[in-house]
Amino acid sequence: MIHSPYIRKPASIQRVMFTVLLALTPGIAAYVWQIGAGILVNLLIATVTALVAEALILRLRKRPVAIAIGDLSAVVTAWLVALAFPPVVPWWLTVIAVSIAIIAVKHLYGGLGQNPFNPAMAAYCTMIVAYPSLMSQWPAAGGIDFSTQLNLILGGVRELDAITGATALDTLRTGLRADGTVGSVMQAGVFGLAGGRGWEWIAGGYLLGGLFLLATRTITWHLPVGFLAGLASTAALFWIFHPDQFASPLFHLASGGAMLAAFFIVTDPVSGATTPRGKLIFAAGVGLIAYLIRAFGAYPEGIAFAVLLMNICVPLIDMKTQPSVFGHRGNGK
């Protein structure tokens, strides 16, 4: 027998996921415009892999397949993997990464809603450890045309220096290690107005999509604000004292995966903190660790590792930040 309530808001997981996919489109559009249509091929490969992997593992787990495929959560994971990875990684790398995200990180922990780690970020970390060079070949804006991109994705010969450059974060890092100053290093062509040339437009696209998510109340402000504030304030702390050695907070916000992470990665509800204060702590922690890895770690971009590290802390954060309950605040009497 069905019990009350007998009415329900027309909401569904599918609708939530679809909104997220929709919010990613401005960023993808900017991606195609600035870097090339290769990303669309990657998105397609990732999507197909995710759906096949999801169906396969659901069948193995003897769970209903259609409803889980239909919830679009696997597609969101797939898109995030594709967007977080360099757009010219070979197709098999995307296939492995998405399979790891879906099968190992999501379903081996119990499927949707059960995974303690962000699937896309776990896949990113696995791949950057396993294939460090392939994972750091980022084309410059307008550097290579679509057919070259397609050729690379389909496994063509990689003449590295000719076709791929380093990212802004990478260039900054290498430059500073070679005793340059921020000012001198940032004369290089890969830098744009605020972040990496071309890439900053994509970041703007993500920002736009993120505002859409906020407007539709798909996400709350705590996570993006916490992350961006954590990243920017840590960056500011170093930058104020040593502007020669450390890039400005604005540069950190506009480059790498900061905007994608702020609105689409740290906002993963399953693996992130859930209480309002917990969300701020979780996201600020990701921002802080991401900055430390960028500035002092072995990798130019540290968001993925930061997310996984903070994922571990989520149960503790949630437990310690439970909001007060109605009537338990001690009002008057």
């Binding site: 069905i2 007998y6 909401a11 569904s12 997981i13 859930t274 909001p323 009002n331």
Partner: protein, 565 residues
């Protein structure tokens, strides 16, 4: 007078669906062929039947005598003949039986001679007794006896009249306020006097502008100090705690009564009934019920208590695709397991449900911890955490996360994108916790009994020994000096005087231990609402049934491993 309104967190705005029935003025429902009047009309208490089969009764004649502190009198809703006194199913999800008086109306609807009650000269206690004898209980749904709620008549500063009616579809209070505003206000001022309150606030959701206007107009002709306050239409603004919060800013925590904070809250319908009882001496034999939903003729009817739901359905005419009938609103009401049950004093609405109006919930999906439920929860809980704990039967953790602060308003389940029947999980967890506490209480009692039995046996043994010793001493003394005068015969036996202080010590220790146990933290089985009580009874019955069936089915299979071994 402008005063600040507060707000509660969370809440939802479902489609109100008030228009279906809001414009239908209150009509008298025609007499049914038979009225089935439950003797259990107030919470936790059943009245004692004072009529027998064949008796002729008049409308308003007492058929149930209040018995016990929480009981109220029950009256014949119309004139007629008592045809049966027995067990009939109650309007409750369980469909459990309760003792009812069946009255066949004679069609005259003749009142018993009503004695007007002069409440101006009556004492407070007399007025409270009058309310009890008129069967006045809370008409908002809880059916708590009003004379108990009026309490000791001191320490209450603010009287709140609840006219929020936040549940979708229901319009009975709306109509009552529009049509009988003056009577409601008269009842409210009587209540205010009885309770010793200074302030009187009437809270009405702002989606009922006509009710607000009517109440304001009625209030304008009276003395100052009455405020009709429109509150934002946000479910569950009519929840007692939520309304008190909105109107006064005070938050009543779980396990505490509003009275402890100087506030008391009555439904507008109750105020109306109080007026009829105290000004006209009229017992509560009818109430306004909204008939709506998938029906041809929605409306608001003045319905006699005991009228079968089937009779009401013949008035509003459910459409052919109706598949269920709900009692109460769609957020907190329940689907009636059968339709031959009678209207009781807490029945505010009957909704005919069709799959089109109330579609079956889509299949349950996994919780993605999106937190929508937490944003909707008016108790400011983390419903998804409670869900995970309830699901894992981690009841200790669920209580730590304040499971019992949940008012089961259904907001969380309403917004959940994974379509999880969250409230069902909380009901399950609560009933399991109650069962465990009851088991523990029973075990405690058994242990106490056992310990006392040991103590008693020990004491009896000692007493016996002392008596024997005394007797022996006496005999010895008798034998020793049969010639001498028995000088020491007057002194009591030595054993008894030695025993008395010991007994007192033990008794004192037992009393201390009992007091300590009583002073320990309150249990979840205390301070329960009447519905919850009924629900627990239902759950216990179900559990017993399940256990019995499990026992009978388990016994043959239990033997199998033994034969194998």
């Amino acid at each position: 007078m402008i005063s600040r309104l507060f707000s509660f967190r969370g809440g939802i705005k479902p489609d109100a669906h008030k228009n279906e029935s809001a414009e239908q003025s209150i009509q008298r429902a025609p007499l049914p062929a038979a009225l089935v009047v439950p003797l259990r009309q107030s919470t936790r208490a059943t009245a004692r039947c004072v009529v027998s089969v064949g008796d002729k009764v008049l409308k308003g004649q007492r058929i149930g005598e209040p018995e016990g502190g929480l009981s109220t009198a029950v009256h014949a809703p119309t004139s007629g003949t008592v045809t049966e006194v027995g067990l009939f199913p109650l309007a409750h999800p369980s469909g459990l039986d309760t003792r009812c008086v069946v009255i066949e109306p004679d069609g005259e609807d003749r009142w018993i001679e009503l004695k007007p009650f002069d409440y101006h000269s009556a004492s407070r206690q007399q007025a409270l007794n009058q309310l009890r004898d008129c069967g006045i209980v809370g008409l908002g749904g809880a059916t708590f006896p009003s004379h108990i709620k009026l309490g000791k008549g001191s320490g209450i500063d603010t009287l709140i009249l609840n006219g929020a009616e936040c549940e979708p579809w229901i319009t009975c209070d709306d109509r009552l306020m529009r049509e009988r505003a003056a009577d409601i206000l008269s009842g409210a001022t009587i209540l205010r006097e009885l309770i010793g309150a200074r302030e009187l606030i009437i809270g009405v959701e702002d989606n009922k502008p006509q009710a607000i206007a009517a109440m304001r107009e009625a209030a304008a002709s009276r003395e100052a100090g009455i405020r009709v306050v429109p509150v934002p239409s946000l479910y569950p603004a009519g929840g007692e705690k939520q309304l008190i919060r909105v109107l006064t800013g005070v938050e009543i925590p779980y396990g505490k009564l509003a009275g402890e904070f100087g506030i008391q809250c009555f439904n507008v319908g109750t105020a109306h009934a109080v007026y009829r009882a105290l000004a006209h001496g009229e017992p509560l034999v009818s109430r306004v019920v909204t008939l709506t939903g998938n029906v041809e003729r929605p409306g608001n009817y003045e319905v006699l208590i005991g009228t079968p739901i089937t009779h009401l359905l013949s008035l509003c005419r459910p459409r052919p695709d109706t598949d269920r009938t709900l009692m109460g609103g769609p957020m907190m009401g329940f689907a009636l397991p059968r339709l031959d049950v009678p209207v009781v004093k807490g029945t505010n609405c009957i909704i005919s449900a069709s799959p089109a109006l109330f579609p079956p919930p889509p299949p349950e999906q996994p919780c993605i911890r999106c937190g929508e439920c937490a944003r909707a929860c008016p108790a400011e809980l983390q419903p998804f955490e409670l869900y995970w704990f309830s699901r894992a039967k981690n009841f200790g953790k669920a209580q730590e996360y304040k499971l019992f602060d949940c008012i089961e308003c259904g907001c969380c389940a309403y917004v959940c994108p994974a379509h999880i029947p969250l409230v069902d999980y909380y009901r399950f967890a609560k009933s399991e916790i109650w069962a465990r506490e009851r088991e523990k209480a029973a075990a405690d009692q058994a242990r106490d009994r056992f310990e006392f039995r040991n103590f008693r046996q020990e004491r009896e043994k000692e007493e016996k020994a002392a008596k024997l010793a005394a007797k022996a001493a006496e005999t010895r003394a008798k034998l020793a000096d049969t010639s001498a005068t028995p000088a020491d015969a007057a002194t009591p036996p030595a054993g008894e005087t030695a025993e008395d202080p010991k007994k007192a010590l033990i008794a004192a220790a037992l009393a201390r231990a009992k007091a300590q146990k009583a002073a320990a933290q309150p249990k979840n089985t205390e301070a329960l609402s009447p519905e919850t009580e009924a629900e627990i009874a239902e759950i216990e019955a179900r559990r017993k049934r399940a256990q019995e069936s499990a026992n009978t089915s388990a016994s043959p299979s239990e033997r199998t491993p033994e034969t194998g071994a």
